[in-house]
């Protein structure tokens, strides 16, 4: 059976070029980049090369690029690193209601240490109103962290405008979590006007186990991992040279292919949207209809539960995700769907699709053709659907 990956936010297949770039650093050039002797020479050169590749993608200077262990770590570093470095200036942080857990749980952890945070709301499309950020700013606000695009509903925020407002009205730093968007839309840090940005190369055909963190020159954070002078003293620990080499190539490919990726993904996204909304009753698209990532779709299918849908689709080779309580591991439906006003009961029928370069129009057509039978099967055994049918008959 052909496997169709519609869950690229979980994992993308590494590009062959990425793997090839990593290969020499496992056994052949296994040296430590910090070594003065010969073994360190080639790994050090590779580290510099990858940093340049990442800097070019972000339009940053190489000294502003820090490699971490993951996108989540980069988010933690931005938030806790800022909090610990600036607590003399204030203890207030602003985030949105639809941030990733690596942001939300970071501020919740800080709250236990005496920091305060405000969550700005989003509208029904998941958009943050920059004015709401302005209104939430306080004298003691030290950081604003808003995701560039939601990892669930794909809505793209106006980070440029939010950064401008933050910098014009406060001394707070501006961070954006670009872990979902980087590699698929522009992440030019100068254009965005941010002080910090996080990105996750494994989301755009790079390896797992490495994250990117942009830290604008002059911005002060405290490291979370103390030790040696690796990553300009901002993140100690012997560098994961193979993963960093792979991340660098993934960044180069992203820069080169950004427009082609959008051109490839948009028709697939449209085929699925039209097919799902046209082929099923009582199905809704979540997120902004236009201002959204080209590689994400999020639907609510009423009266059925997401995990059952996911499992049936899995049976026919289609891998998807869901924001239902049952799939969450913490037994709560998605906080993002909740924030855009989706009833928690309806959020159970959430279907999360994330596309990638291995998807084709045929995949989209196959999915659209097969989904109605899955939905019908589950609705037929749903007591909620039974109730509605009986009510409609009356």
């Amino acid at each position: 059976m052909k496997i169709i990956n519609f869950d690229h936010f979980a994992a993308t297949k590494m590009r062959q070029e990425v793997k090839d770039a990593m290969e020499p650093y496992f056994i052949g050039e296994y040296g430590n980049p910090q070594s003065i002797h010969t073994l360190g020479d080639e790994p050090r050169e590779q580290l510099d090369k990858a940093r340049l590749q990442a800097a070019e993608l972000l339009n940053a200077a190489t000294i502003e690029v820090i490699f971490t262990g993951s996108g989540s770590e980069a988010n933690n570093l931005a938030i806790k690193g800022t909090a610990f470095a600036r607590m003399d200036k204030g203890r207030h942080i602003i985030v949105s209601k639809i941030e990733h857990f690596s942001v939300l749980n970071s501020v919740k952890s800080l709250a236990k240490l005496g920091f305060e945070f405000s969550e700005v709301p989003v509208d029904k499309y998941g958009s943050v109103d920059p004015q709401d950020v302005k209104n939430a700013l306080r004298k003691d606000t030290i950081l604003v962290s808003i995701t560039q695009a939601s990892n669930e509903i794909g809505t793209i925020q106006d980070i440029k405008e939010i950064s401008k407002i933050v910098h014009e009205n406060s001394a707070a730093y501006m961070h954006t979590d670009a872990n979902t968007s980087c590699g698929f839309i522009e992440t030019d840090v100068k254009e965005l006007g941010v002080d910090m940005l996080s990105a996750a190369p494994h989301r755009f055909y790079g390896p797992k186990g490495v994250g990117l963190f942009y830290l604008k020159k002059g911005i002060r954070i405290m490291p979370l991992i103390d030790g040696g002078i690796q990553e300009f003293g901002r993140r100690a620990g012997t560098e994961n040279v193979p993963a960093i080499a792979g991340a660098g190539v993934a960044c180069s490919l992203a820069k080169k292919e950004l427009k082609d990726r959008t051109a490839h993904l948009l028709p697939i996204q449209k085929t699925i949207t039209d097919g799902v909304l046209g082929g099923l009753d009582e199905v809704y698209l979540n997120g902004h209809p236009e201002k959204r990532l080209p590689n994400n779709l999020n639907f609510v299918v009423k009266y059925i539960e997401g995990e059952s849908m996911l499992m049936w689709l899995n049976n026919i080779g289609i891998m998807v995700a869901s924001g239902s309580a049952c799939t969450s591991k913490i037994l709560k439906s998605s906080h993002v769907l909740n924030a855009i006003g989706v009833d928690p009961a309806l959020a159970q029928g959430s279907l999360l699709i994330s596309l990638g370069e291995d998807n084709t129009l045929e995949d989209a057509e196959y999915f659209v053709k097969e989904l109605p039978a899955v939905v019908k099967k589950l609705r037929e055994m749903s007591p909620l659907y039974e109730e509605v049918m009986k009510r409609n008959k009356k």
Binding site: E307, S308, A325, C326, I330, M381
Partner: protein, 148 residues
Amino acid sequence: MPVYSEKVMDHFQNPRNVGEIENADGVGELGNPTCGDIMKIYIKVKDDKIEDVKFKTFGCGAAIATSSMVTELVKGKTLEEAEKVSNGVVAEALDGLPPVKMHCSNLAADALHLAIEDFRARKAGKGPIGRVETPEHDEDEHDLLEHA
């Protein structure tokens, strides 16, 4: 290793006794749409025995599989025997469930017991009982992770 056992997958993909019994003698409906699970079990009782049993379930793979399994376990059994079938027995009959599913999606036996209670209430002129809402999981997810 797959998340679910082969038995769970079998009952999920080929659920036994799906449907509704018209003029059922007892109906047990249990759950909470906010948590993602609602189970509805219908029974037909004759001479104190479960002559027929059917279910409808809104929920995850485990919720559907446990509903299917409980109907299979109690069909033809006396009410007394059926009352001894617990959620634990159902989970065991499915070769176990992932730990996270044990308390949220493993309510099928409770729904069955509710159907029996409903049957008795109706006989005593005190039924039907109607849907029983189970409590939501209201733990803060951050605390939940901390204590996991």
